[in-house]
């Protein structure tokens, strides 16, 4: 187990994310607590990126030892075979509160619905089921629509502790603020789009939809329902291309990208690009190690879960340089053991192949991990779901997906063989 934050011998980077936007908080934390001295997640300080399906943006990453990298967004959607496995969610909204009392839920609603009419609707006219284990509420449409953004966030954090609330536990993430742009071309009707716009709320680098049942209740037919489910699996990732124009600049690039164990030499490939007239960019996929390349931009299949566990972020990070992936890295305990025995702690600036872990501040428990690629781009699988692909994405986009992580410390690890 990774040691607790208090016992860590090296400084760590702490983040707290509550109701305010992650970006603003990060800015404050970085500016005050860290004095801007770290290069970790540097572009959190930059402007909002608005890459969306119908308005793709081509941009250059910040210059660094990784060279001249261009990025552009690509969009991933689960293959039909995976969608067939996805059950249609209920169109009835249900909020399930565990380990609490009716009075406590009523008090929460009083905070959420200061309007007396709405509060009465929430506590009198909506349907409640009470058992010793839970308070189950079927809110009215008016309640669902009336929730202010901060209340939606608090409700997500309350209900999202329990998998029984599937879309508070794993909400639908819209990467960007423009709902209509994100769902462009998906075949969703105006009422559905309006419902998503009305019930989603800003969160970190994008928007979150927890009230999926309400939006689903607006679909016209089974075809639109299928389109909705398909659209739910949409993810944004990045293509990266390395510009290679001169032999003179190759040495530092080779030093940066030639990490750990590889089964090919990067230099002749890069030189081939430089040599070939009319070609000056190399798809970064060719530099990634074999296993990472195999999984990048894909969704898991049932075959991956044949051992009973689907790959998660720890599996993804610790298998990055492994030619044959090891199932045991799915376990936080085994992953921590591996980090302690084969990696050393490192501080920013991180370099290609470093494992970036997010740990729980007080216990040191591993919450998430990813691989540092360059600038603000990481290689990540954001949870173990079959509907979550392996992606290259900005750290900000990754954090938008990690809705259940609110306080964490960042600890970097580098394989000792490097």
């Amino acid at each position: 187990m990774i040691r607790s934050a208090a016992a860590l011998p090296l400084p760590v980077l702490s983040f707290t994310m509550s109701t305010a936007s992650f970006r603003r908080l990060s800015l404050l934390l970085l500016a005050s607590a860290l004095g801007g001295s770290t290069d970790l997640f540097p572009t959190m300080l930059q402007g909002q990126e608005s890459a969306v399906p119908n308005a793709p943006i081509f941009k250059n990453l910040k210059p660094g030892p990784w060279g001249d990298l261009e990025s552009y967004p690509v969009f991933l959607q689960a293959p039909e075979a995976a969608l067939k496995l996805l059950p249609s969610p209920s169109q009835q909204t249900v909020w399930r509160f565990f380990g609490t009392t009716r009075d406590e839920v009523s008090a929460l609603f009083q905070k959420f619905f200061p309007d007396p009419d709405l509060y009465r609707e929430a506590t009198v006219r909506s349907v409640w089921y009470l058992t010793p284990e839970e308070v189950r509420v079927h809110p009215t449409d008016r309640m669902v629509l009336a929730l202010p953004p901060l209340a939606r966030l608090e409700l997500m954090q309350t209900l999202g502790k329990y998998e029984e609330n599937p879309f508070h536990y794993n909400p639908l993430v819209i990467e960007g603020q423009d709902v209509r742009a994100w769902f462009a071309g998906t075949g969703l009707s105006e009422p559905v789009l309006a419902a998503i716009e009305a019930t989603s709320f800003p969160f970190r680098n994008g928007r979150i939809l927890t009230e999926v049942s309400y939006a689903l209740s607006k679909v016209d037919d089974e075809i639109e329902e299928a389109n909705f489910l398909r659209a739910m699996t949409r993810n944004r990732s990045l293509f990266l291309r390395l510009r290679l124009t001169s032999h003179d600049t190759l040495a530092p690039l080779l030093d940066y990208w030639s990490q750990n164990i590889r089964l090919k030499e990067t230099q002749p490939i890069m030189e081939s690009i430089i040599r070939t007239p009319g070609v000056e960019r190399l798809d970064l996929t060719h530099i990634l190690p074999p296993t990472a390349r195999k999984y990048l931009y894909t969704f898991p299949t049932t075959a991956e879960g044949i051992n009973g566990i689907f790959p998660n972020s720890l599996w993804t990070s610790l298998n990055f340089f492994e030619f044959s992936p090891k199932v045991r890295y799915n376990s936080p305990d085994k992953a921590a053991e591996q980090l302690q025995s084969h990696f050393e702690r490192v501080l920013p600036p991180f370099r290609y192949g470093d494992v970036i872990t997010l740990v729980e501040p007080t216990t040191g428990k591993l919450l998430h991990s990813c691989i540092f690629i360059a600038d603000n781009v990481v290689y990540s699988k954001n949870n173990s779901s079959m509907l979550t692909p392996w992606v290259l994405q900005t750290d900000a986009d990754m954090m938008t997906h990690l809705t259940r992580i609110t306080e964490f410390q960042v600890v970097g690890w580098r394989h000792t063989s490097t």
């Binding site: 081509f58 293959p79 081939s272 040599r275 390349r293 894909t298």
Partner: protein, 406 residues
């Protein structure tokens, strides 16, 4: 030969026959500086518009060290031949009597038990005419103990200059390399690593010579996309039974993005070839001393986890008649297995996968020094069409297997 292969217009099962002459030009033609031809275009087809260019691949350092080639000596083995028989064999090559006497004389003839091998002087062999060397090598390659002759290093079909570009070899060594290269059949080849290493000016150049000679050529292939691209039908062509992403959604933004008009087709490959492309097989992939070869590579194209059943060298015929594969009908499709057989014996000699136009995915040999690459089929076949008659068959994953979509 190339265009003849790709006349897909007739219907029926695909079987192409080739007859090659015994020996062609003994030296390779000089490739000039203009061999860097840049990006070339494929024939348009259901795969869309492809562009490609050659790249050089070098084995990892530890493979070069482990190969032992850096310490290789020039030794000619003649298993089970008497000295008289060896002298007679050498005499048929046009080698001068004085050279035969030198090669079989004191200091150059080695007896190990009742076996005889020769260690001819490097400078004399280097000075032999291409015709004589070619004939000697033809004799030597019948015994696998003569590794460099039985399985010579392939010289790039796409150009000698490309092979030695930024190699770290001195101009003099490059000249020797070019001079000693020869054609085996129609395949540019090289067997004289010990001679070439003797020209190294220092240990660094010796290392660079070894790595350069072990280079392999491959192609980077890109799909050209524009707002006019018929993405639906193009992505249908690239579909595979182990597809794990929605290709249309994946590629569509690229058609709208100024400055981004190509998609590297590594992203369109099934998981296993995507993982392996441009890499060298890991020792961990083998069983015992048996490592992945062309058959393992070709038959695992669509498998998410490769099956080591295909390492079994005695089962190649079985693979073709088992439950998974059937003879393909025209036109060839993405991932079809191409089998090259010896026309006389029917024995499969090579397998690779059809990608598009005349481009295939291949691993040319079991050696860990041979990477997984895209190549033009024409250049692959140069290494295998060496018997009097060869045949090429196409096999396709049966439709019931293609429906087992993950």
């Amino acid at each position: 030969m190339g265009r003849k292969l790709f006349s897909w217009t007739t219907s029926g099962l695909i079987c192409l026959s080739f007859t090659t002459s015994a020996q062609e030009i003994p030296t390779i033609e000089t490739a000039g500086a203009d061999s860097f031809t840049g990006v070339q275009l494929s024939q348009p087809g259901p795969w869309g518009d492809l562009e490609y260019f050659p790249i050089a691949l070098e084995p990892p350092d530890q493979y070069v060290t482990a190969s032992g080639h850096l310490e290789a000596k020039l030794v000619w083995h003649f298993p089970n031949k008497t000295l008289t028989e060896i002298i007679d064999l050498l005499a048929t090559t046009g080698l001068q009597e004085s050279d035969i006497n030198l090669f079989t004389g004191p200091g150059h003839l080695i007896r190990t038990g009742d076996q005889i091998s020769l260690q001819p002087p490097l400078d004399v062999v280097e000075g032999l005419s291409p015709e004589v060397r070619s004939k000697i090598y033809e004799i030597l390659r019948q015994w696998e103990q003569n590794e460099f002759y039985a399985k010579p290093f392939p010289v790039f079909s796409s150009g000698f200059d490309l092979m030695v570009h930024e190699s770290g070899m001195s101009p003099g060594s490059i000249d020797v390399f070019k001079k000693l290269s020869y054609r085996w059949g129609s395949a540019p080849s090289f067997s004289d690593l010990p001679i070439l290493l003797s020209h190294a000016q220092n240990d660094h150049e010796r290392w660079r010579i070894a790595k350069t000679v072990m280079r392999s050529e491959g192609l980077v292939v890109r799909l050209k996309l524009s707002s006019q691209s018929d993405l639906e039908s193009i992505m249908t062509y690239w579909s595979s039974p182990t597809r794990r992403k929605n290709l249309k959604v994946f590629a569509e933004p690229l058609t709208k993005m100024p400055g981004v008009n190509t998609l590297d087709i590594v992203h369109l490959l099934p998981p296993t070839p995507r993982k392996l492309l441009y890499t060298y097989a890991s020792p961990l992939m083998g069983i015992g001393s048996t490592f992945p070869d062309c058959f393992w590579t070709a038959f695992n194209f669509f498998a998410f986890e490769p099956s080591n059943r295909y390492l079994d060298t005695t089962s190649h015929r079985t693979f073709l008649t088992d439950e998974k594969w059937e003879r393909a009908t025209l036109p060839p499709r993405f991932g079809d297995v191409i089998i090259v057989t010896d026309g006389e014996t029917g024995e499969p000699m090579h397998a690779c996968n059809f990608i598009a136009d005349d481009i295939v995915f291949t691993k040319n040999g079991r050696s860990l020094l041979r990477p997984f690459v895209f190549m033009k089929l024409e250049n692959v076949l140069k290494n295998y069409l060496k018997s009097r008659r060869s045949e090429v068959f196409f096999y396709r994953l049966k439709s019931e297997d293609t429906e087992t979509v993950e």
